[in-house]
């Protein structure tokens, strides 16, 4: 739950094995955010000075604040794909559990794949959104280093994808809509992941998700990393937060392979078309969810409200359909993705 823009740990501590620190933390600044931070620091200094000397600086402060607001808009409306990637990976960006807890009531996390594992990189459970029972799930990045190690930096194992499909089957059986939240650099690439069938686990989800009768809404909230993202990404509607990214391969890996130089990742990020606008243009996603100016990490309360509103609107739209219509919608949505030409030429 959000209180004054800070995550309170009481609520989240009930249902998740970690909690956000309560003390104000130093902001983590991305390079392009620095001019903005400097300006904000300047505003603070003027304020402090005014308090000491009792000089009226209201006009000056107003001016500076307007400038800061303008600057924020300018910076965030002209981010390069590489900068978008940095925002999407921002350590303070709200995570899947932040969204789930903020948009739902009665949330109860459910664990395990019923076959020997509980992958903490994939979370899921049942809850209520606007009075409606739903199943929510997604990859979970850690909120700090310790948490990240437990959660494998949001890289799910085969057991994570199997836990996800188990919860989706549960939703389908009880007629609950499925809401998935995508935020992963990639599916985990380790020895055990290969041994336990990472490829099979993802493939199975891709096929099974076409089968469900209930509405499925998938939202990319941070990083949509390749097959690891798609493994919970087959929905009737695919939404993307403005500053999130979705990519066929991590730009760093792509650069290493195609340019033979991992340092060319900014070029690769540009060429791969990973931003929400680009993917809207390619007909891959259905909707872009606007983020607060300055991106979700600067105003998580507003960000979660936007996500909730978008999900509810889409849910109402999908409710107006029969289950067969939704399955056809889902099939045709993916069926129509692809650009090619026919005939000789």
């Amino acid at each position: 739950m959000l209180i004054n823009g800070n995550w309170s740990d009481q609520d989240s501590a009930l249902n998740s094995p970690f909690a956000m620190p309560t003390t104000d933390r130093k902001p983590i600044l991305l390079d392009f955010e620095k001019p903005l931070a400097e300006l904000e620091e300047q505003i603070k200094q003027v304020r402090d000075l005014a308090a000491e000397t009792e000089v009226d600086v209201a006009g000056q402060i107003l001016q500076l604040e307007e400038r800061a607001c303008q600057l924020r808009k300018e910076i965030f409306s002209s981010l390069t794909p590489q900068q978008r990637l940095q925002v999407a990976r921002h350590p303070r960006r709200p995570t899947t559990l932040d969204y789930i807890q903020a948009i739902s009531d009665d949330w109860l996390e459910m664990h395990g794949d019923r076959a020997g594992f509980d992958d903490l990189a994939m979370v899921g459970g049942v809850g209520r959104i606007d009075g409606r029972a739903v199943v929510m799930l997604g990859q979970q990045k850690g909120r700090n280093t310790k948490d990240n190690i437990q959660r494998n930096f949001g890289q799910a194992s085969p057991s994570g994808y199997r836990k996800a499909i188990r919860l989706m089957e549960h939703a389908n059986r009880f007629g609950m809509p499925i809401l998935t939240f995508i935020d992963t650099p990639a599916a985990w690439a380790g020895i055990e992941a290969e041994e336990y069938g990472q490829g099979e686990a993802i493939a199975f989800n891709l096929r099974e998700m076409f089968k469900f009768d209930v509405p499925i809404i998938c939202t990319v909230v941070g990083e949509g990393g390749s097959g690891g993202a798609l493994g919970i990404g087959v929905g009737d509607r695919l939404l993307m937060m403005e500053h999130s990214v979705y990519s066929v391969a991590p730009p760093e890996a792509c650069a290493a392979i195609l340019w033979r130089d991992a340092g060319k990742s900014s070029k690769a990020a540009e060429a791969l078309k990973i931003t929400s606008e680009d993917l809207m243009g390619l007909g891959i996603i259905d909707e872009v969810i606007t983020e607060p100016t300055g991106a979700a990490h600067t105003d998580p309360v507003l960000a979660t409200e936007q996500v909730k509103a978008a999900i509810l609107t889409n849910l109402i739209y999908l409710d107006s359909m029969t289950s067969q219509q939704r399955r056809d919608l889902r099939y045709n949505k993916f069926r129509n993705i692809g650009k090619f030409s026919e005939g000789l030429g």
Binding site: G199, A203, L206, R207, G227, V234, G338, E342
Partner: protein
């Protein structure tokens, strides 16, 4: 006639040197072929009769799509589908060279339009839909064309109520088409779900190498999954795993035999027995009466 003209004429009369695309063929047409595994020299005609499987060490040499179709489909029954479907470089992608140039080069070199051939044919008299990926074409990578051709073929098989067989050989999704490539994984899986809903048989044959987005979609969705001996079958490539973990991996990591031991494929079948086995499996799984949808 000057001496120069004489040389020029002579050059014209001499047979055209074969283009580089036919190099594999040229080796195969050579009288003897050396096995890349044990080094044994085999009379090429015998090797081809044995489907390019070394007679000495059973090593399965690479075989490309035309040869595969010949090996699996009864003579004169192959009807190719969507032969002119081609990529249009949707992102205007350019790495060290433009994608459109890369495509043209590959097309010239391999005489293929893209990395998969699809069609209908008979396998020991049984009608089947067959897709064969070709590793020569940009590492068999899957972009819009591969996705669309396989999807159309599976949809046709669902209507015709016949089994689908896909011979996989691919490095995964084609990066030059970005997210369009990734989404082909879902598209093909969706088509397979509809085929499966009709209780029709799908058998992927995993050959060297099968990796990435292909492994994480149709390669692993078979009712029965067959692998060729000693093929590399992976989700993440060996080097990626090594880099992630910074440790040395076992030699047999990600081989067919390793996957069999970990319960991920049903069986390993020698190429020389593949057609016979597929025919056997198809006759064991006749198509049931259509289920009303």
């Amino acid at each position: 006639m000057s001496l120069f003209d004489w040389f020029a004429n002579r050059r014209k009369e001499s047979p055209e040197p074969s283009p580089p695309a036919d190099r594999e063929r040229e080796i195969a047409d050579g009288l003897w072929t050396k096995c890349d595994s044990c080094g044994a020299l085999t009379y090429t005609k015998d090797l081809r009769a044995n489907q390019m499987v070394c007679l000495e060490c059973d090593h399965h040499m690479r075989v490309y799509s035309d040869e595969r179709i010949r090996q699996l489909i009864d003579a004169d029954t192959w009807q190719p589908m969507d032969e002119t479907l081609h990529s249009i470089d949707p992102l205007g992608f350019r790495d060290r060279k433009p994608y459109s140039d890369r495509l043209r080069e590959m097309q010239d070199k391999t005489k293929l339009v893209d990395a998969v051939q699809t069609g209908l044919g008979k396998l020991r008299g049984n009608p089947v839909a067959l897709g064969v990926m070709d590793f020569r074409f940009m590492g068999g990578s899957m972009g819009s064309v591969v996705g669309e051709k396989l999807t159309r073929m599976i949809e046709k098989a669902t209507i015709d109520r016949i089994p689908v067989i896909i011979v996989c050989a691919s490095g995964g999704a084609r990066m030059q088409e970005g997210m369009l490539s990734l989404m082909q994984m879902a598209k093909i899986s969706g088509a397979l779900e509809r085929h499966r809903e009709q209780r029709l048989l799908y058998i992927p044959v995993l050959t060297h190498p099968t990796a990435g987005g292909v492994t994480a979609s149709f390669a692993m969705l078979g009712d029965i999954i067959i692998a060729e001996p000693k093929a590399t079958i992976a989700f993440a490539g060996r080097r990626v795993v090594e880099q992630t973990l910074r440790e040395k991996l076992p030699d047999d990591f990600q081989t067919s035999e390793y996957l069999l031991a970990h319960g991920l494929v049903d069986t390993i079948i020698s190429r020389t027995q593949l057609k016979k086995t597929l025919a056997q499996l198809i006759t064991l799984h006749p198509a049931p009466q259509p289920t009303p949808s």
